[in-house]
Each structure stands twice: as C-alpha cells, then as structure tokens.
C-alpha cells in the first residue's frame, strides 16, 4: 500500500476522563484502533477484608453518574447471601430510585455529552450546523454562547434526582438499599411529592425531548413509522429526538459504529410480586442475549474478563469475575495497552446498553432498524434518548402502588434472616 500511517489519540472524557481511543489512520481510513483505559482505580481490591455491608458504601463510588445502579448491584448480592427477597414496597422504592437516576443519565448523556458534538466546528458544513450550535453548544464552551437545549438539560434533569433524595437521602452516593430492602420507611408525603416531580419531568420530556405524548411515541413500531412520525408535525421534527434523526442521518451516523452485532442484557428492575407493571421472567427489563435480532436466554456464567492486552498479572484466558484477579502489572513495551479488562460473553464481545435492551425486549422500531441496517450510532443514540419513554409509566405506577400499599405502621425494611458476619467480629 505504501500509505502514510498516522497515530491519533482521541480522549473520551465528558464523564470521567479515563478512556482514550488510539487510532491508526492509513489513506484516510482507520486501519486499527485500540480502546485504552488510562486509569487504574482498583475497586475490585478495595472490598477485600472489609465487612460485607461496606459494599453499600464503597461500590457506589465507582461512578458518579450511576452510583445508585452500583448500589443496587451490591444490595442484591447481599440479598442473595442472606437468602432474602425484599418486600414489594422496598422493591418499588429501589426501582424508583434506579429509574430516576437512569432518566437523568440518559438525558444528560444524550443532550450534554453526545449532541453537544453537533455544535462542533467539525460539522460546520452540515446544513443544520447553525441550528445545532443554537441548541447544543456546551454550557461552558469557549466558542459559542450556551445552547438553549444544553441549558434546559442542566435546568431540568436535576429535578428527577430529588426523587432519589426523597427515598434515599441524596444523589449521588446514597446507601439506602440494604439487604432485605431499604432503610426508608415510606411516608405518603414523600411519595406524593415524588409523583409530582416525575410528572413535571415527564411533561418537559414529552413537550421538548419527544415533541409528542408517550402514547404517540409508543406507536412508532418500525422505521416506516419513524419516518411517518417525522413527517407528521413540526413539533416532532423540532424536538430533540426529531433533531437527532435529521442531523444524524445527514451526518451519516446511521452508517457508523456497527459494533460486534451481538446484544446482551443482564435484565433489570425486578418486578414486585403484586404489580400492574408487565415484564418478562420477573423483570421489567428482560435479560437475554441476541445475535442480530435472533434472541435467546442469557447465562451469567458465560461472562469472563480477559486480560491478554490489559496491564494485569495472570493468564491471558478469561475468568468469570467471581474468580478473577486484579493484580496490576505495569510494563513498558509488550502488547498490553489498557487498564480496562476486556469483558466477553462466550469468548466474544457483546453490546450492552439501551439499544441492546430494546432489541432484547422485542421493540418493533429498533428490531426493524437493526434488522435492516445493522447496529449503528444513530439507532444506539435514539434508543438512549427514548429509553425514558419506557420508564415514566412503570415509575408512576410503582409510586402509586406503594402509596396504595402503605399501612399506618408498615416498614419497608426487613432485616436479613441470617446475620452477615463482618471480619472484624469473626
């Protein structure tokens, strides 16, 4: 070929500046790429020799944008150890906090961390570049005044987190989920307030982010439906979802970022025993594994973390996290290039996140789209921006159900039946 080879390091740092993609460019094409974690934090090691309940304090600190999710993982692990199932209202309270956090995260990621790039001068030739800058220029940017939608995202997204504070005291980094339930004794005044908070954000989301009601959006079940939705009204086209589609198609985002073509979801949001919310196999977000649109069951035993190219000691073959080790091994030269381990399912990578969840839930639009064009950046981002549309209904339902199920002296906390011993007391 004889083409000139250029290396370029691209930091991905809008939240947590610790991922970098190094690309090798030849003849204006990316020839090779390396995804590099640039920070070792060693969280796997921090819990060793600590009391089991300490995981409720330590684990959330892995991530400041989704700390409640990490708390839920730790709490469920302790539920399993203790052999307890939380009472229905505690499941609802845990889910409510998780959903509030996820709505915040999806909206901040979409508007403040993804669509902000539409305002970048790299898109100066795009026919929507001026409008993109007026909408999504960053709040603290040097080049343009803050975009109206960026400012709105900052002003609106924080309010849904008040729900997490009402049930868990604060966001981020609460520890209100404990084995067997939650520490919180549900009070009607908090639940009622929470319901108002959810309704207010839902109103803004429907009005500005979707440009239509949740019901109208739920009727979009294919790519043809999506095109009809875009053509239907100016409100749809001017919404964030509509703008994402219009800008993204012209920019070719629907032809980029195929990924591995496999999808995985662990499943999330366990259903209470008594609930009007529908799900599959006990969860609102179903677990599964899919190759393209061909979906099947998920077995967590097939997860392994590989370290052949990561700076860790040990054999390069994968280990289930249960038996994995985290012994840093810094070396110059060699083939290792990242502090991130490589997670694999049956030995191969798989896509997780909102698009994977929608495919595995059998969603019409995304199954149709990915079946036709394969996975792509635009579908992935639209799946994230519209995930809250799937969450508002169950969130409101669970707050209602909790209120209806309250008895005067009910406690949503249930102590573990078997005590959890700490190293300090054993």
């Amino acid at each position: 070929m004889g083409g000139k080879r250029i290396h370029c390091d691209v930091p991905l740092n809008r939240v947590e500046g610790d991922l970098e993609v190094r690309v090798a460019v030849e003849n204006d094409r990316v020839a090779e790429a390396w995804s590099r974690g640039t920070l070792f934090r060693g969280f796997e090691r921090m819990l060793v020799d600590r009391a089991p309940m300490d995981s409720l304090v330590v684990t959330p600190r892995i991530c400041g944008i989704c700390s409640t999710t990490h708390l839920a993982a730790a709490a469920r692990a302790l539920d399993q150890v203790a052999g307890v199932t939380p009472p229905d209202n505690a499941i609802r309270m845990r889910n409510a906090a998780l959903m509030a956090e996820q709505i915040q995260s999806d909206l901040r990621q979409s508007l403040l961390m993804f669509m902000v790039d539409f305002a970048n001068s790299a898109y100066a030739d795009h026919s929507l570049a001026d409008e993109a800058r007026r909408r999504y220029a960053p709040v603290g940017g040097q080049h343009h005044p803050p975009g109206a939608r960026s400012v709105a995202a900052v002003r609106e997204t924080k309010h849904i987190l008040e729900l997490v504070a009402l049930v868990g005291g604060q966001w981020p980094h609460t520890s209100f989920m404990v084995p067997g339930g939650v520490v919180y004794k549900a009070e009607p005044r908090s639940l009622q307030q929470g319901r108002h908070i959810v309704k207010a954000l839902r109103r803004w989301y429907e009005d500005q982010v979707l440009g239509c009601s949740l019901e109208r959006w739920a009727a979009v079940r294919s790519v043809a439906d999506l095109d009809a939705w875009l053509a239907e009204s100016a409100a749809h086209r001017e919404s964030d979802a509509g703008f994402l589609m219009r800008f993204g198609r012209e920019a070719g985002l629907d032809r980029l970022g195929a990924g591995p073509g496999t999808f995985l979801s662990y499943g999330n949001l366990p259903l209470p025993a008594e609930t009007a919310v529908a799900g599959r196999a006990g969860r609102f977000v179903p677990a599964g594994f899919a190759r393209g649109a061909d979906t099947g069951p998920f077995h967590e035993g097939h997860i392994a973390e590989h370290t052949a190219f990561s700076w860790y000691q040990g054999d390069p073959g994968g280990h289930h996290p249960w038996s994995g080790r985290t012994e840093p091994l810094m070396e110059d030269g060699g083939e290792r290039y990242s502090w991130a381990k490589a997670p694999r399912y049956r030995g191969a990578p798989a896509e997780t996140g909102p698009l994977a969840e929608r495919i595995l839930a059998g969603d019409g639009l995304f199954t149709d789209w990915v079946g036709r064009d394969g996975p792509n950046v635009l579908a992935r981002q639209l799946a994230r921006l519209t995930r809250p549309a799937t969450l508002f209904g169950p969130l409101e339902a669970w707050l209602e159900e909790t209120l209806a199920a309250l008895t005067p002296d009910e406690s949503t906390a249930q102590q573990a039946q078997r005590p959890i011993m700490s190293p300090a007391s054993s």
Partner: protein, 311 residues
C-alpha cells in the same frame, strides 16, 4: 474575566455530577453571573484535544492566566511512586496537576478524594490529596504550598462535595470575600457545623431513642455507625437535591467530609464500650455524656419511644 480549569484525577466524576445539580443560581447562571471563563472542564467545554494541548502549554508558559484550578479525584502515585496508574498525554497526571497548581491564583480541591486522598489511599493505588494525605499535611503539593494569591489549597470535602459549597466557594474567590479555613483547610462557612445539626432525627438523639433495626425510626448514632455528631458538614443545613439528607432518610452519615474517610473499620456499626459509643460527639466529656444520656433516656417522652412522630 476570571478563568477556571477543572482537572479530574482518580475519582468517579461525582463532584461534577453533583455540581450540575446546583440551585439558585443554577450552573449556567452561576458562570454567567460570576463572569467565569471555563478554559477546560471535561463535561462543560467543547475544547478539541489539540486545542486543549495548546491551552495547557499556554497556561504553563504563563501566557494564559489561570485564576482558579479545581481538582476532582485523588492524585494517583502508584505503581511504586511512578504515577503511571493515571496518565495524561502519556505522562503522570499528578505532575501536570502540580505544574498547573503553581500557576493558579487559587487551588480548590472538590471532594474528599482531591482533598485528602479518599478511596485511593492504599498501598497499591497509593493516592494522596493535594495538600493532605488523610490527616497528614503534605500531599502532592507539600505543606508549605501557597497558590499565587497566597492561599493554601481550599478543601471542599465530601463524597461528593455539596454543590452549593462549590458554588459558594467560587463566588467568594471571584468576589474577594474572605473565607476562614479550619485546620484541614475547609471553609468554616460550610464545615464549621456538625452534620448532626439540622438532622430531623435530633430529638431521638436527645432522648437516646435508638434505631436498632433499619426502618425502626430512631437515632442512628448508637448502633448504625452514624457520624453525624462526629464530623463537620452542611448536609442537614443545606439539604441534598433540595429535599433531604442521608440521616433524615435513615442512612447513617459515613463521615465523608473527614480526612479519615473511608474508615478502616466497618460502616453501619457503632464501635462501643458497654453500650456507649467509642467515638463521642465532638468536644464532649465521656463521664458527663454517660450521665446525661442515662437521664435523657429515662425522660424520653412516649411519642418518641413509641415512634408516634412522623420523622
């Protein structure tokens, strides 16, 4: 126009995420009102990688003035003191932080990790805070460090730091309002009060009505390891997300504003000697406390002991 550079180290980004929640003014208005020019913030600016490098070089060459450097996350020194666990432009990020700090008029540590090392202080990650490593003065910059305005590092402790503390500190620095710092360099304005003060469960503490099981309303200090009366912080005065606090909701305070956070002994348990906590409310005499609590428990009204109250 004051300039600000926000550098993230070994952390979770939670201080930034929390800062996005700031109220009255909210973040866009705060930057506008104070006239702050954000040179770099990972979540708030649109500086391209090449531009960022040029900007950093200009700051280090004293061509672009840096008024406020905010550091979030612990300064990682491992492995074996090399700093290579956390790199920036292929070099240890801690060296870059130290160089920037020497050019800043003010240096602010946002969160306990940046102030005291937090979760990274162990023998592998070997993290430190900017001017303390846990309680010990020194840290990355050394005990004698003063920024160009003659200030030590301003430590905004908390995991995360309360967003109003960040906005209040920026406001004071930009407007030249004096800030009195405590012995750990935390502004007394927000850390000169106990987390306990303002807790809606104060009356339970007063009469020693204890929470032994979660959800069984009471004071969390005696059994659940609550640090509310032990550490300074504004959680129950400012409240979180406009609504509540961990202790109000029934989650013990874990003492995250303390340089000793995280403690080496278990959370959710109160270390005690014959039923009396080992760690007593700040500044209190043990014998007096025991006599007072015995009498207080005997005087506890039934509305508290029978949990008839709605807090």
């Amino acid at each position: 126009m004051p300039t600000l550079y926000w550098l993230q180290h070994g952390g979770c980004g939670g201080d930034t995420m929390s800062f996005l929640n700031v109220e009255s003014p909210d973040l866009p208005d705060l930057l506008d009102d104070l006239g702050i020019r954000v040179l770099w913030h990972p979540s708030l600016t649109d500086t391209a990688p090449g531009e960022r490098q040029a900007l950093e070089d200009r700051i280090l060459a004293d061509e672009t003035p840096l008024d406020i450097l905010v550091v979030e996350g612990s300064v990682v020194q491992g492995p074996d003191g090399t700093g290579l666990f956390d790199t920036h432009r292929g070099r240890p990020k801690r060296d870059f932080a130290a160089a920037l700090a020497r050019r800043a008029r003010y240096v602010v540590a946002a969160g306990t990790c940046a102030a005291f090392g937090g979760f990274g202080v162990d023998d592998v990650m070997d993290a430190t805070g900017l001017q303390f490593r846990r309680e010990a003065p020194g840290g990355l910059l050394g005990e004698g460090f003063r920024s160009r305005a003659g200030w030590p590092v301003v430590n905004l402790a908390g995991c995360p730091c309360h967003p109003e503390v960040v906005s209040g500190t920026l406001t004071a620095l930009v407007n030249g309002t004096p800030l009195e710092l405590d012995s750990y360099q935390r502004p007394r304005e927000w850390y000169g009060m106990m987390v306990h003060q303002g807790c809606s469960r104060n009356e339970y503490h007063e009469y020693r009505v204890e929470e032994e099981e979660f959800g069984h309303k009471g004071c969390l200090f005696f059994h659940k390891g609550c640090h509310g009366p032990l550490v300074g912080g504004p959680c129950n005065v400012l409240l979180w997300n406009r609504r509540s606090s961990k202790t109000r909701a029934g989650v013990p305070c874990f003492g995250c504003t303390s340089p000793a956070f995280p403690q080496p002994f278990p959370f959710f348990q109160t270390r005690n000697i014959e039923g009396v906590p080992v760690d007593l409310p700040m500044g209190i005499d043990r014998a007096h406390y025991m006599a007072y609590k015995t009498m207080a428990a005997a005087a506890a009204p039934a509305r508290l002991t029978h949990r008839r109250t709605k807090v």
